[in-house]
Amino acid sequence: MEFKDNTPIYLQIEEVINNRIISEEYKIGEKIPSVRELSLDLGVNINTVQKSLNELVDEGILITQRGRGNFVADDLKVILKIKQELVNNIINEMYDKLSNMGLSKSEIVDAVTEFLKGRKE
Amino acid sequence: MQAFKIMFKERFKVMNLLLLLELGITLITFIIQLFTSGSLDINKIWIGLGGSFALWLGIFFFVYPIALAILTIRQFFFNRFRMIPISEMKLYLSSIFATFLNMIYVFIVQIIIGTASALIIIKGSIQAQSLLDFVKTRIDFSFADYENIAVSFVLILFAFIVMTLLVNCGVFLGQIVADVLPFGRSRWVKVVIYIITIIILIYISNFVDINNLDNIWLAMLVPIVEAAVLIGINQYLLRFIETSK
C-alpha cells in the first residue's frame, strides 16, 4: 500500500483500519490481524502500526485483550462514531475545496442537491 | 577451529596445485631434453630425469614459502576473515599454524623429490651395479651425519618460518605507519615503507648470529624464540590492521 510520505503514516493507517471496519472487512467484536501481520500487509514499520493501534484503543475503537490480540469494539455506537467522523472528513475536504473556488454556503447546498438529483439510480 | 580448517584447506589446495605444476614442468623439461639430445643411452636418460627434477626443485623451493606468505598476509586484509566472531589472537594463531603445517608438508614433499632425484642421478651415473649395492657400499653415513642432515633441514624450515613472520611484521608495521602519514595512501609509499621496515627487522634479528653458537640445540632455540616473539608482536599489531577488501 502506498502512503503519503509527508504526513504521519500512523494517522493514515488509522484511516485504513477505520475504513476496513466500516466496510465490515473487520467485523464488530472480532479479532483484527496482529501488529506484525498488518505491518507486512501494509508494508510499514511495525512500531508505526503499533502507534496507530494504540491510538485506536485510546479512542475506544479497538480493544486489547491481553495475550489474545486486538479486537474491534463490540459496540455499535463506536462504529457509528467512526462512520460519522469519516463522513465529516470527506465533507470537510469538499467544503474547503468548493469555498476556495468562491462558492457561498447556499451555493454549495444547491450544487449538492442538483448533483444528487442527477444521480438518482 | 573452523577458521583454522578453512585457512588450512585453502592453502593446502594452492600448495598441491603448485606441486602439480612443478611435476608437470619437470616432465615437460625432461621430454624436451630427451628429444633434443637424441641419445637413447638409458643412463643418460636417468640423469636427464633426475636433473629435470633437481632443476625445478631448486626454483620451486622458494616459490612455496613465498606463495604461502602472500596467501597468509593478504587474508588479514580481507573482510570475510576479519568479520569472523573470534578474537584477533585466535585468528592470527589459526592462520600462522595453518601456514606452518603447509610449509612442513611442502618441505617434506620437496625432500622426497630431492632424494628421489639424487638417487635417479646416481643410478644414471653408475654402470652395471644395482643402485642399492652402490648406496650401501659407497654412502656410509654415521648417526652423527644423519643428525646433522636432519638438523640442517629443520633449521632451513625454521628460517623460512621466521622469514615469513618477519615479512608479516614488516607489512603490518608498514600499513600502520602508512595509515598515519598524510601521504600514505599512495601504493608506492606503502611499498617503500614495507621494504624499509623489513630491512630494519632483518637487521635487528641478525644481532643473534647462529653460526657462532656451538650447541646445536641452542641454534635451534634461537629461531624458535624469534618466532614466538614475532608471533606475539604480529597478533598484537593485527588489532590495528584495517581491511581493504
Binding site: N6 | I6, R80, P182, R185, F240, E242
Partner: protein, 234 residues
Amino acid sequence: MTDLLKVNDITYKKNHHVILENTNLTLGSGHLVGLVGINGSGKTTLMRIITQLNKNYRGDITVAGETAVDKIKSKVSFSDDLASFSNSTKVDNIRKFYCKVYPDFSMSKFLELINFLDISLNSKLGSLSKGMREKLVIALCLSRETSLYLLDEPFSGVDSMARKQIIKSLLSWIDENSSLIISSHHISEISEILDEIVVIKDNTIIKHEATEDIRSQNLSLEEYFENLYQKEIK
C-alpha cells in the same frame, strides 16, 4: 533496558584526514533506522567501525552490552561486498564458508532468501550481474540470526521493481528484537519501513529523529534531509 547499540564519542581519522568527529548514537532494539548523508560523509566508515573492520578510532562501541571485539562481531552482521572471494567461487561455497564461521547463520533462512531473490547456488560469483550480486550480499547478511544488521547502500545496482519488493520484505526478514541500520540514496523508497532516521553531516551525526515526528511537521524524509543543506545555501 540496555540499548542495542551505543556509539560513544567516536573520532576517526585516516591519513590525517578527519572522517568522523565526536560522533554519538544510541539505538534501541526493534528499530529500522535509515542512515543518510551525502557521498563521502562517513556512512560506510561508521558501519565499518561498528563492525570492527575499521580499527583506529577513538571512543568506544558497545553492542548489546558487549565491548570485546569478538563479542561485538557476533552481534553485528554487516553487508560485505564479497570482494575477497574469487570470481570462480560458487555461491554454494560462499554459503558453506558462512555456515562454518558463523554459528548464528541460518541455512534455512538463506535458502528461503535466495529462492525469493532468484539466485542459484551453482552460479559462480563472477557470472552474477551487479544487481544479483547485491541481492546475494543482502541474503548472506540477513541469514545470520543476530542483534544488529548493517546494510550499506544495498541496492544501487538492483532494478526499481526488485528494490521495492526487497524493501517491503525487509520487514519480515528482520526479527522484532533486532535492529537494522540501512544506508541508502533512495530515501523516499525506504521511507515507509523506517521508524528512525540518522543524519550524518559535517563529520558527525547531527540528527537522530523518529520518522513520524518529521512527518508530523508535514515534511517527507527527503525534504527534511534537503532542508538541512538549504540553510547553508541561504
